[in-house]
Symmetry: C4
Subunit: 244 residues, 4 copies
Amino acid sequence: MKKLTVFINGENSAGRAFETLIQILIIVSLISFSLETLPDLNPRRRAWLNTIELISVIVFTIEYLLRILTAKKPLKFIFSFMGLVDLAAILPFYLSFGIDLRSLRAMRMLRILRVFKLVRYTKAFNRFRLAVKIAKEEIIIFFSAAIMLIYLTSIGIYYFEHEVQPEKFSSVFESMWWSVVTLTTVGYGDVYPITPGGKTFTIFVLFLGLGIVAVPTGLLASALTTARELEKEQEEEKKARSKQ
Amino acid sequence: MKKLTVFINGENSAGRAFETLIQILIIVSLISFSLETLPDLNPRRRAWLNTIELISVIVFTIEYLLRILTAKKPLKFIFSFMGLVDLAAILPFYLSFGIDLRSLRAMRMLRILRVFKLVRYTKAFNRFRLAVKIAKEEIIIFFSAAIMLIYLTSIGIYYFEHEVQPEKFSSVFESMWWSVVTLTTVGYGDVYPITPGGKTFTIFVLFLGLGIVAVPTGLLASALTTARELEKEQEEEKKARSKQ
Amino acid sequence: MKKLTVFINGENSAGRAFETLIQILIIVSLISFSLETLPDLNPRRRAWLNTIELISVIVFTIEYLLRILTAKKPLKFIFSFMGLVDLAAILPFYLSFGIDLRSLRAMRMLRILRVFKLVRYTKAFNRFRLAVKIAKEEIIIFFSAAIMLIYLTSIGIYYFEHEVQPEKFSSVFESMWWSVVTLTTVGYGDVYPITPGGKTFTIFVLFLGLGIVAVPTGLLASALTTARELEKEQEEEKKARSKQ
Amino acid sequence: MKKLTVFINGENSAGRAFETLIQILIIVSLISFSLETLPDLNPRRRAWLNTIELISVIVFTIEYLLRILTAKKPLKFIFSFMGLVDLAAILPFYLSFGIDLRSLRAMRMLRILRVFKLVRYTKAFNRFRLAVKIAKEEIIIFFSAAIMLIYLTSIGIYYFEHEVQPEKFSSVFESMWWSVVTLTTVGYGDVYPITPGGKTFTIFVLFLGLGIVAVPTGLLASALTTARELEKEQEEEKKARSKQ
């Protein structure tokens, strides 16, 4: 039992190998899931994809059961975020036996939550959390300003373009689509102003607005740099203490 | 009277609750305003939206009158920026009784100024103002450079594309629309150069120009980081003083 | 004579007023130049624009002659950069009397160089120059990398898309247009890959390439911040010295 | 022999002149290679381009042989990265005599590796490597996050748009094309959501996703600034040591 705990937490070589296997299986099953959506798939290949699906669900189920078995408080694990994600990754497969197949297709979307299982194995989020904490206030302010700006520009362009392009700017909500696509500089070209007033309005909005939408990115980047420096200092302090 | 002043400035628990109510009402009335623009709205829902409009105007009016009553210098408040914004948020509704309805539709746009009422309740602008002050000169220089660049590229593209696409590049002003859409990298695709000369010109403009348009954002982000550091130092100084 | 020198260099109140007048005239004549390109301009308005043109050329000529008169070495001024710009701003007008009018239209483009006259009156370029000097090497490296990347992606997309879209990707030069429009994220939508190979290639290029094209902007922004700090230090040193 | 080694490594004036010649030839042959793809090329110009090709291959071959001759361990040079690049730049030409010409056309693409020969002559990569090392972890995390985000948004948009636009969102792979083009803000406009659900989904994705895709660039820019400072410190230390 103690050995199993060590194994499942990747604390011995067999455990680390299993962990790597799980990670590979996650990626394989994600790719296989994408392949299933291909329109012209011959039955043979579909059978292959089903086999991959079967194998990965079996392995994920074994892993899930082992985690419950080795957990100090099994119920706490089952209802933890990672426990629910683990369950969500295998449940759609088992439900597809009992219930109608069409409902399954919608539930299968939950399978993509397996992506978050990849996250468990990295220390990725910690530094990111610190950075968000550092630049929290500015990011909130700029997000609010961006939302206000999008709302105001939506109403503005609606008044300029609604009469000339009633189909494309049919309501403030449709204008909001234009606002977001324009202010993030995606600019698909499906909706754009054609009246002189709308064009002039857009020119001013682009000049004043780009900054507001782009600044949070710059703030996050600089906060991440600061977070890395803080982390380094803490590690050095730890070293200095352990030496004493 | 004194109680009312405390209440309206959100300095006791009832006041804070009222403040939150006002904020919720602002958002609700903004959403309701957007919904009114939906093309296929049945009369029942329109009645609902009118009721929401009525309630919010009543509440905003009560708030406005309370603010005048409790202000030390009522006239000063009425002609202050926030006072005028408060008035602008309710006036269009009352004017719609006396005057022709069509003029109302245009004035209703002023209602979006309610957005700025949200701003009153946050300390958002202070740090932003400091950041703008820090990077003021560079931002002005780059804005001027951006405007010059847009003017010059408008004339340049006009000479390259006017003869081949006389409808799309009909004047320098139409070319300016292309300039802004291109240099901000929105690129709708409604106007673009088709002559070899115009394409080569655009390639050079994009290489030299993107920096000029994108730099102010970077400057603002770094200035905001500096502003936050300054703020922190000042707070620490204050603490150090209060301890003495 | 001495008075004139003081006047033209904006060193007394009359000189400063004249300087402001010149700046306003530059902007007015630039706007008037843009208005002349409007397709449906009635003769009356065209007459107005011609009058503005006449007045501004007269004032610029007087200013040019005064500068020559008051210069210590007139010839040196005439052949200096700003001297030539001043001449280029008025010469096209005078040449239009003697020579064929069509050639004039092309030469008039030189008039936009008046924009650079605005620059003379500001200290804008100094800090910018320092920033460029600080980040010079990185900017050169990234510009070279960007050019290499555009060349390589042009050839890559040419091989993927040439056969399927021979008109849009007719040569490596046409592909280069696609490369620049894509890597700067303008994305007009006039040319884009349609083969699976071309799309996959584009996905990888976008992932690896965006950084290379966007980094110089970030470098310039951070260099400008550093330049401002250096400037401040120098000013403080000057103050410290003048006190001694 | 010793003289040749000095010459080929650009350590005397003749060597430096030869090095410059090689660099010019690389650029000339790259331009000539692009010109060959032009559709309407008359035989005379094609002959010119072939001559340029011949000359540059001869010079590159001489250079290659000289490098082998002067290398201390010729075999080690031949199988080094730069040795293989040098070979790849001339081999396609010689192979075109023996083998079918069509296969040559595909192999000629290797010629663009000559671009990397330009790199040999600069110290460009060193600082860049240091910067990548400094911001390595964050860049990896954000790249992973970007890939996850693109995968998740591809599946999301597939479920929203597949039924209404089965041709444009035919599979998750086609949706991935949309994801990358949207999140990098290129936005060609060949595929975009048209359902209200798809549009709302895109609005949220753009708001949350732009940061994730844009942050690595900011991190790299700030790491390059740090790398330059480190380099400067090291140089100053070296100077201080050499003085002692």
